[in-house]
């Protein structure tokens, strides 16, 4: 229902407002947040993200549309931030509204799993040591 790639801080409340209707009894939201220990084991003090928006946005929309039917009726919004992020800032937000909570949980988890796999966005870890490296997502178990 709302898909965006932005340099601005993510606003979860506005994503929730975009998906909620009076038919929805459940809202599930996911935030991916910059954490001190990334996938490696060196402490980071920030990440930077880069995207190919002309491909990423249609892919985010496709994931949202798949998720909105796959488990039952659901409404999704997905936003990804790009640029430089500090510790504690959200890089990705998914909001899902549905009549019942089981569908909302399933659709939200599906959307973030698929986003990590399919959407052309890249992440660079900036370590406290001053070094930096591009970090691909681990393949799904």
């Amino acid at each position: 229902m709302k898909y965006e790639i932005t340099r601005e801080p993510l606003a979860l409340e506005s994503l929730i407002e975009a998906v909620r209707t009076d038919a929805c009894g459940a809202v599930v939201a996911f935030l991916g947040v910059v954490r001190e220990l990334g996938d490696g084991d060196q402490p980071v003090d920030g990440l930077s993200y880069e995207a190919y928006p002309a491909m990423a946005l249609p892919e985010m929309r496709a994931i949202g549309e798949e998720a909105s039917h796959k488990f039952g009726e659901a409404r999704l919004a997905i936003a990804h931030r790009i640029g430089d992020l500090r510790l504690g800032e959200a890089s990705v937000a998914v909001a899902v509204a549905a009549p019942h909570r089981g569908v909302a949980f399933d659709a939200c988890e599906y959307a973030i799993d698929q986003l990590k796999e399919r959407v052309p966005i890249w992440k660079k870890e900036h370590f406290r040591s001053g070094e930096a490296r591009w970090r691909p997502n681990a393949p799904r178990p």
């Binding site: 993200y49 880069e50 190919y52 890089s91 973030i112 986003l115 052309p120 966005i121 997502n137």
Partner: protein, 81 residues
């Protein structure tokens, strides 16, 4: 014909530019254009195997034929989320 290469993440850093326009023979494949780039920048070889290609925003295999004006995105493994 002319093709515009879009380079992302580690590829962009090695190439030193997010975009570059190249002149290639008519009917050149996506793989051919990528191989030419990797030959010019030998440091690309270490990430070449895991890199995917997209033509005008859609994933393609190496043997996809390009047309004049196409955008070829050269994409290392994704790290979004």
């Amino acid at each position: 014909m002319r093709v515009r290469i879009l380079a992302f993440a580690g590829v962009r850093e090695i190439v030193g530019a997010a975009q570059r326009t190249v002149e290639v023979p008519a009917g050149a494949t996506a793989g051919r254009v990528w191989d030419d780039l990797a030959r010019e920048f030998p440091r690309l070889s270490e990430i070449a195997r895991s890199t995917r290609l997209a033509r005008n925003g859609a994933l393609v295999e190496r043997d996809a034929a390009l047309q004049d004006g196409d955008e070829l995105a050269v994409m290392p493994p994704f790290g979004g989320g």
